[in-house]
Symmetry: C2
Subunit: 341 residues, 2 copies
C-alpha cells in the first residue's frame, strides 16, 4: 500500500547501504547468504518492487522489445504477436507494440518512438509501402538488434525469420497439377518488391515448369489480394476465351473473392474449378467448400522470432552475425482443390 518502497528505504531499515540491497536482490555472489535472506525478507515485507525505469537508466537495458506490425488485427500478425509474447513473457521481457498501417512514414516514426523508449531491440514486418531500407541499416549501425519477419529484406544485413513462401507456393501448385489441372491461374500481390510475393510467384512458376505445365501470362492477375481483388481476378479470367481450370490464389481473401464469383456464376468448386489459397486464415476451414491453403504457422513463427531475438541480444559478441531462418509452410488440403470431384 502507501507509497512505494525503494532500495534506499530498505537500506535504512537494515542499516546497510543501497548497494548491498541492490546486490542482495540480484544475488550477487559477494553478498552473504544471511544478508540476502534479511534483505529479501525486508523487501517482501515492505512490498518492494524494482523500479525498472531507474534500473534501465543505469544499466542501459530495459528488457523491453519493440514490435512493429502492419496491423495488429490481422489474424496472421496477431498470431505472431501471440507467439512472441509466449516466449518473452517467460523470460522477463516486455513487449512494446506499434502498428505501421503499412505506411513507411509510420514505420519510421514507430522506430523512433521505440528508440526513445530505449527498447533493447526491435522486431518488425516491413510495411507494404516501404521500399527503401536505409532506416534498417541505420539501426544496425547504431547497434540496435533487429529481427525482421515475414516481410523482410536481405539488403540491410539484418536477421530474418520467414516462412518458406517459395516451397509453399510450389507445393500448392504441384498439388493442383496432381489433381489434374492444366490451366492454372494465379493471383499475385502488387508490391512485388516484397519478398513474400516474389517468392510465391517464383514457386508457382517453377512448379509449372518442373511439371511441364504451360505458363500463360493471361492467367496472372495482380491485385491487392483482398476479396475484391479475387473477384476482379476471377471476372477477368472468365472473360477469356479459355478460362483456367484452377487458381492458385496467393492469399486466402482473394481465394474467397474468386469463390464467391464462381459460385454466383454457377460453377462448381472443385468440380469445375480448383482453388487454393494462402495463409490458412481461420475462415478457410469453415467456408464451403473448405479452402485448401498454405499454413504459415504464425504462432511458431512468432516464437521463433522471439527466440532468435533473445539469442542475438544475450550473445556477448556484438558481432553482426546475422541469421536467416526459414520455417516450413505446409499445404493444408481441404475440399476446394480436389478438382473434378
Amino acid at each position: 500500500m502507501s507509497k512505494k518502497a525503494t532500495i534506499n528505504d530498505l537500506a535504512k531499515e537494515l542499516n546497510v547501504t543501497a548497494s548491498t540491497i541492490s546486490r542482495a536482490l540480484n544475488d550477487n555472489p559477494r553478498i552473504s547468504d544471511e544478508t540476502k535472506r534479511l534483505v529479501k525478507e525486508a523487501a517482501k515485507r515492505a512490498g518492494y518492487r524494482l523500479n525498472g525505469v531507474a534500473s534501465a537508466l543505469r544499466s542501459g537495458r530495459t528488457y523491453t522489445i519493440g514490435v512493429i506490425v502492419p496491423t495488429a488485427d490481422r489474424s496472421f500478425f496477431s498470431s505472431i504477436v501471440r507467439g512472441i509474447e509466449d516466449i518473452t513473457n517467460k523470460t522477463g521481457y516486455n513487449l512494446m507494440i506499434c502498428q505501421s498501417n503499412d505506411s513507411n512514414k509510420s514505420e519510421i516514426e514507430d522506430i523512433n518512438a521505440l528508440l526513445r523508449a530505449q527498447v533493447d531491440g526491435i522486431v518488425l514486418s516491413i510495411a507494404k509501402e516501404t521500399s527503401d531500407y536505409k532506416h534498417f541499416e541505420d539501426l544496425r549501425e547504431r547497434g540496435v538488434p533487429l529481427v525482421l519477419f515475414d516481410r523482410v529484406t536481405h539488403k540491410a544485413g539484418v536477421s530474418t525469420v520467414t516462412v518458406d513462401d517459395y516451397r509453399g507456393a510450389y507445393k500448392a501448385t504441384e498439388h493442383l497439377i496432381e489433381q489434374g489441372c492444366r490451366r492454372i491461374a494465379t493471383f499475385v500481390g502488387e508490391h512485388q518488391h516484397i519478398n513474400i510475393y516474389k517468392e510465391r510467384f517464383r514457386g508457382y512458376k517453377d512448379a509449372l515448369a518442373d511439371y511441364k505445365v504451360p505458363f500463360y501470362s493471361e492467367y496472372v492477375h495482380t491485385s491487392s489480394l483482398g476479396i475484391d481483388g479475387g473477384r476482379e481476378g476471377a471476372t477477368t479470367m472468365w472473360a477469356l476465351p479459355q478460362p483456367p481450370d484452377a487458381i492458385f490464389c496467393q492469399s486466402d481473401f482473394s481465394a474467397l473473392g474468386a469463390m464467391q464469383f464462381l459460385k454466383e456464376k454457377g460453377l462448381k468448386i472443385p468440380h469445375d474449378v480448383a482453388l487454393v489459397g494462402f495463409a490458412n486464415e481461420p475462415f478457410t476451414a469453415y467456408i464451403e467448400p473448405a479452402l485448401t491453403t498454405v499454413d504459415q504457422h504464425p504462432v511458431d513463427m512468432g516464437q521463433t522470432v522471439a527466440k532468435l531475438f533473445l539469442e542475438q541480444i544475450e550473445s556477448e559478441d556484438t558481432s553482426t552475425l546475422t541469421k536467416n531462418i526459414t520455417l516450413n509452410a505446409d499445404l493444408v488440403i481441404r475440399q476446394s482443390s480436389l478438382f473434378g470431384r
Copy 2:
C-alpha cells in the same frame, strides 16, 4: 550516427547548461525564441533523441500504457488492441502488451511486470479464471489508473468500457421471435461470474418474457462456447423429444459448431432452424448460410478505452471518479436467422 547525443553534449556545444537545453526542447516559455531555435538546430544536427527512460525516471511518467488481454490472437482482442493503438500512437503514448491466457496467476504477474516497468496505467480485460478482484482494488489504492473493458467487474470501483451485451442479446432473441420462432434455445458460457455471459443470458430471458415466449430450461446449454461446445449443445437439444426451432448462441464459434451438426443431420438452416451468433467474428460473413450475429465494434471499443484512459490520466484531479461507458451492440442480420426461408 556513432553514439547517442545527450542534452549535456548539446549544452557543451552551445555553451549553455543542460537545463536550458531541456527547457528549450520542451518549449518552456522562459526560454527565448532565439535560444530555442539554436538548440533545436543543434539537436537535429547531432541526431539528438530524448532518452525516455531518463525522462521517465525524473518526471515519473513513462507515457506507456499497459494492456493485458486474455489472448492476443483472438479476433476480438486483437481488434481492441488495434483500436487502442490507433489512439495512443497519435498522442505519444506507447503500448506494452501482455497476455493472461485467461489465468488469474498470469494476470497478476502481468500486472506486476507492468508496474515494474512503471507504466502510467493499465487497461485490461479480466481473465476467465479471475473471480477475486483484490488486485484491482490494490491498483486503485496505489493510484494506478485502471480501465477495464469487455470482461469487467463493478466491484472494484474502477472505470469500465463494455458493450451492451444485454441489449445485444435482447435484440438477437427478439429478432428470432420476430422471425416466428417460438422454441428458442440458447448456448451460454460457463464462468457465469463474468459479466458478459450473465448479461447475455439476462437479455435472452427478458426478451422471451417480454414477448411471452416460453422459457424452457432444457433449452439452455452451458459450455465453453467453442465449436465443440456448440456441437454438444445441438446434439443435446436434438435428443429432446421436441427440439428447438432456433438457437441464440452466445458466441459465433458455438453457432458454427451447431451449424455443422445440424447440416450433418440434414436440417436446413434457416428453413428448419434459425441460428444467431455473437461477436461478428470474421468468418461469420463467409460461411453458408452467413451467420446472423451481434457486432461489438471492437475497434471502436479499443478507441473508446484509449480515450477514456487518456482522459483519466490527463485530468488533474486524481479524484477516484470512475466512469462506466457502455457501447452499442448491433445485430447484423444475415441468412442464418431468416427462419422458414
